[in-house]
């Protein structure tokens, strides 16, 4: 059964939408990632206009982050003080991002910037994750490896406005998480992602937060950032497709449950290695699309 999406103004088969939600939900449940970085390019590939895909995906991520954060909250794995500083930065960044998005769209460069951001950030994160998981797999094969320091100290720890984060066992400048979240917020708004795939490694390696509070805290802030993007895009560009978001959500919720069950059967390093390969693959594919000569050098679009 085909369904006409009122905002996207395209007709897609309902099974395709729910299946896409389910498939991406499965992977996100398995790997513990949001899945926005997979969903948004796939939606664009299916013919959903890029602005609609990005804004709608923000709306869907609100839901998946809420259900994710509740589980972490019950286990007490959310650092709320850190979360509030991150969300302040995230709201500022994502508001800027939405503004930047509409400017780029008007000058016809939004597709390019979306694809470039994907290539660059997925590429960097993919390589880092792959290296890290290879190292981890090697380490498990060499028993007796030494455990390193909790985290490395660098120039970031010398900045002013220091705050003590009890849950994260950190005493660092509030400016670091604020600007980190602001930067990720801009990317969130442009790429149609929650930003967890950048925020999580940054919180672990840059801020030095313990891994167990990172996921819950990042999910907590992603709720607010994506909610902010949803509302701003609704007001500025009217590109949030509520019907599309609802159907994706339905599939994703179910898929995530199955994914989580498969995920526990695999080892952490293997999981991260697989995720890294997937992220890298997507980055290479999108990068390749930018380099090969397009079939038609001209394109036509309806402008507002």
């Amino acid at each position: 059964m085909y369904i006409y999406l009122p905002i996207a103004a395209v007709s897609l088969h309902i099974a395709v939408i729910i299946g896409l939600g389910g498939g991406v939900g499965f992977l996100s449940g398995m790997f513990g990632v949001g899945g926005g970085f997979l969903m948004t390019p796939l939606l664009i590939f299916l013919g959903v206009p890029a602005p609609v895909a990005v804004a709608t995906e923000a709306n869907q991520i609100v839901a998946s982050s809420v259900s994710g954060v509740l589980a972490h909250w019950r286990r007490g794995n959310v650092d709320f003080l850190m979360g509030f500083i991150l969300l302040a930065g995230g709201v500022v960044g994502s508001s800027l991002g939405v503004l930047l998005f509409s400017i780029l769209r008007d000058i016809g460069q939004i597709d390019l910037v979306i694809k470039l951001s994907y290539v660059v950030f997925l590429g960097i994160i993919g390589i880092l994750m792959l290296m890290e998981s290879i190292r981890a797999i090697m380490r498990t094969r060499q028993p007796g490896a030494k455990r390193g320091k909790l985290h490395q100290h660098n120039w970031l720890h010398g900045l002013p406005l220091k705050v003590r984060f009890r849950k994260s066992k950190l005493y660092i400048s509030a400016l670091v998480p604020f600007f980190l979240a602001a930067f990720v917020g801009v990317l969130s708004a442009i790429m149609g992602v929650g930003g967890g795939f950048i925020l999580v490694p940054a919180m672990i390696y840059l801020l030095g937060m313990p891994t167990y509070v990172v996921i819950g805290t990042s999910l907590f802030q992603i709720i607010f950032v994506t909610a902010n993007i949803t509302i701003l895009q609704s007001v500025q560009t009217q590109t949030v497709d509520f019907v599309l978001a609802g159907l994706l959500l339905f599939g994703a919720v179910i898929g995530a449950q199955f994914g989580a069950r498969v995920g526990v059967m695999l080892k952490g390093e293997q999981l991260r290695g697989l995720l890294a390969l997937m992220v890298l693959g997507l980055s290479i594919k999108l990068g390749f699309d930018l380099i090969i000569t397009p079939q038609d050098l001209f394109s036509t679009e309806f402008v507002r």
Binding site: S11, I231, V243, F302
Partner: protein, 255 residues
């Protein structure tokens, strides 16, 4: 569906008093199209009677029908990519001043066989005869042709522009019918339908119809909400997502 309509027209034709009706009469199987949530495009039937009802079908040259469907004019932009340090980037834009969002031509024979080129130009029939102008005046004429070709190509690929020179069937030199296909990606608005009856390179009669395309049902409601109460819509979308996430977490915690 076809046959009853034809029978009615044939009945009308022979019922009318001879020598009076030299008019072109056309109608559509429906002149209202609703874009509902299950919309995947719509096929309509355009049908009618030729104007030369009294013509002797055996001796007279048959007349031809050209149907021109034009959708609302929207701001359309064409962009051209160039390779900049290895990657393909949109570098030039032409904003079209008067390009229709939808333009289908249906005819009973190839257009150039029906009418001479200057006549086609005069009647603005055919992509090249639309007199497309760009908003950016700096473009040179010869350059503009490449841009126009690209617009024809891209709009045709989306099924929004089309020329089908075999679509109109003429039955016994008295009746005609043509399938009108509106794809799923059409823009709501008023669609003008011009029906031309042409004989010996001369336009002998013309009729006009209009198709109203509008969003309807739940989809229309959501679209309207998104555009007219956008703040409320955004807040509602977020509230929905939060509650959906919350319900999901409760539902799957129990098992």
């Amino acid at each position: 569906m076809m046959r009853p309509i034809l029978i009615v027209i044939i009945g009308l034709m022979f019922g009318s008093s001879e020598g009076m009706a030299r008019q072109l009469v056309a109608d559509l199987s429906s002149d209202e199209v609703s874009i509902t949530t299950d919309f995947t495009g719509q096929n309509l039937l355009l049908f009618g009677a030729l104007s030369n009802l009294n013509a002797n079908s055996a001796t007279d040259a048959p007349s031809d029908i050209i149907v021109i469907l034009t959708g609302p004019t929207l701001p359309i932009a064409s962009r051209r990519k160039e390779r900049v340090s290895g990657i393909w980037i949109n570098t030039q834009t032409v904003q079209w001043k008067n390009a229709p969002s939808f333009y289908h031509i249906l005819s009973s024979r190839p257009l150039t066989q029906i009418l001479p080129n200057d006549k086609l130009k005069e009647l603005k029939i055919g992509f090249k005869n639309l007199g497309l102008k760009s908003k950016n005046q700096t473009d040179e004429i010869e350059n503009l042709e490449i841009w126009q070709e690209s617009l024809f190509r891209n709009m045709t690929a989306q099924n929004l522009w089309q020329v089908d020179e075999n679509a109109v069937s003429i039955i016994r030199n008295a009746l005609f019918r043509a399938p009108v296909s509106l794809p799923a990606n059409i823009t709501p608005g008023d669609y003008q339908v011009r029906i031309l009856d042409v004989k010996d390179g001369q336009l002998i009669a013309e009729d006009r119809r209009e198709i109203t395309v509008q969003k309807a049902g739940l989809g229309a409601f959501i679209y309207q909400l998104a555009h007219e109460y956008s703040v409320f819509y955004g807040i509602f979308a977020v509230a929905f997502a939060i509650s959906a996430g919350w319900i999901a977490s409760i539902a799957f915690r129990r098992n």
